[in-house]
């Protein structure tokens, strides 16, 4: 299996606050990797290092290497914007662009990437909305504002938007924590479909969710990657005492 993401000795800081400590792991094609760990352990920071968002924070620093399909994204002459196009991101709170229609929310990424042909746009938007399992619900109201959708639909719209530029990797930071159980279930179902074409790294604080949807799980604590392995093993017989304590709810 092809390695899509390889993280090598990544450390990160906010000013003098050292929040990631020599994190290394790799993710293969068609895998869903769940990042778990207590609040503040560095999960969001870690995934923000994978698409060069971390450096956008003032005084933030990073060291180490991240390879995306073999290319070090922190190498010289690598453009952060290009990287962000290849590594999509979905956040906890659905954030459709205000003022844009459902259609334009998905089309905008393509337009920014230089696609202006109407037929192609139409086709790509439909395809992405289908991939995001939203097409059936919105096909008759593509001109309505993105914000007119329900929370769960907005989140799927954001996923469709992220998919528009065909990124090989999709990062998700607690994508269902603001959603009701039904919408959560549909996003989980969607993840299972998407992994056929996209490699997904997802932060979740819902352990059952991590167990349900991921192939591999990474457990983090205080900025360190404590254990990384097959999800079935992490949740049934983890190697590290700290992992065992965390997954059985006996942490701290």
């Amino acid at each position: 299996m092809k390695q899509v993401v390889e993280v090598k000795g990544v450390s990160a800081w906010f000013g003098s606050l050292h929040v990631l400590k020599e994190v290394s792991f790799s993710v293969h094609e068609n895998e869903v990797v769940a990042l778990i760990g207590p609040s503040g352990c560095g999960k969001s920071t870690l995934i923000r290092c994978l698409n060069r968002l971390h450096e956008e924070v003032q005084d933030a620093k990073i060291s180490g290497q991240v390879f995306l399909e073999g290319q070090n994204i922190y190498g010289p002459n690598v453009d952060a914007v290009t990287i962000r196009r290849r590594v999509g991101m979905v956040f906890q709170k659905p954030n459709p662009f205000p003022g844009l229609s459902i259609f334009d929310n998905v089309a905008i990424g393509l337009k920014l990437a230089g696609v202006h042909n109407k037929a192609i746009l139409q086709e790509r938007v439909e395809e992405c909305l289908m991939k995001a399992a939203l097409w059936g619900e919105v096909k008759d109201k593509l001109k309505n504002p993105g914000l007119s959708l329900s929370g769960g639909q907005q989140q799927r719209l954001c996923i469709a938007r992220a998919l528009a530029v065909s990124p090989p990797v999709l990062l998700m930071d607690e994508p269902t924590s603001a959603l009701d159980p039904l919408s959560t279930a549909s996003i989980e179902e969607l993840i299972a479909q998407l992994k056929k074409t996209v490699t997904i790294i997802i932060v979740t604080h819902n352990m059952q969710q991590a167990a349900r949807i991921s192939d591999k799980t990474a457990f983090m604590l205080n900025g360190e990657l404590v254990e990384y392995g097959r999800t079935t093993e992490i949740f049934t017989q983890p190697r590290m005492e700290q992992t065992e304590r965390y997954i059985t709810g006996r942490f701290g």
Partner: protein
């Protein structure tokens, strides 16, 4: 440590498991009494059958408690392994009840026969099996891998007694055809005891699974290679 709901759930599973365990120990001590005192009172068999019924009911109750715990708590790690182990062992303990009942049926006739030189072997087997059952349950409750290993090793002793008894009984039956019935009853009793010892060994092996996620001491040691 804070008071966790999962801990209370597990305590409840443990409590129900111990109830099943003590019923099994109880049926075994009834049998042990009968064999050692060689007295079969009119209600002896009934008492054993009654206990066996209680074991069946408790087995079902325990499975229900486990199923509900899985549904409600979605346990992970050692908690998950513990409940899975209890569900498997529930079946082992229930089988011990069946085998004890089989032995009780055999005892009635057995006690009518004249005494022979293998009687002492049966008593010894009964003692060994009682120790194994008691100790395996204790090891399981304490997640005590070393104690579990002692139970596992003891299984061989019971197998050896059975093999020894078999040849003694065969000789005995060849020499005196009057003793054929006695010999057959004795071998059948011994065989049932040997099965109970196997189930106790299963209980011991689950200790490794709960503690380590491995089935046996061997793979547990292999883990460190």
């Amino acid at each position: 440590m804070t008071d966790l709901r999962i801990d209370r759930t597990l305590e409840n599973v443990e409590k129900e498991f111990l109830t099943l365990g003590s019923l099994v120990e109880n049926i075994l001590s009834q049998i042990s009494e009968l064999i050692k005192k060689r007295k079969f009172a009119p209600d002896s068999l009934e008492l054993v059958l009654d206990c066996e019924k209680k074991i069946n009911n408790q087995d079902r109750r325990l499975l229900k408690v486990c199923t509900e715990s899985l549904a409600k708590e979605s346990p992970f790690g050692m908690d998950l392994r513990f409940i899975i182990a209890v569900m498997k062992l529930s079946a082992d303990l229930e089988r011990m009840g069946d085998q004890s009942r089989n032995i009780a049926y055999l005892i009635k006739d057995y006690l009518n026969h004249t005494t022979t030189k293998v009687d002492q072997d049966i008593i010894e087997m009964c003692n060994q099996v009682q120790w194994m059952v008691r100790t395996s349950i204790e090891a399981f409750m304490k997640r005590d891998v070393l104690l579990a290993e002692r139970v596992r090793e003891n299984d061989q002793i019971v197998d050896d007694i059975l093999a020894d008894m078999r040849s003694k009984c065969t000789d005995m039956m060849k020499q005196d055809t009057q003793l054929v019935e006695t010999g057959i009853d004795q071998i059948m009793m011994a065989k049932n005891f040997e099965r109970i010892a196997d189930h106790a060994t299963n209980v011991a092996e689950e200790v490794f699974f709960v503690v380590r996620g491995h089935q046996s001491f061997d793979s547990y040691k292999g883990d460190n290679l």
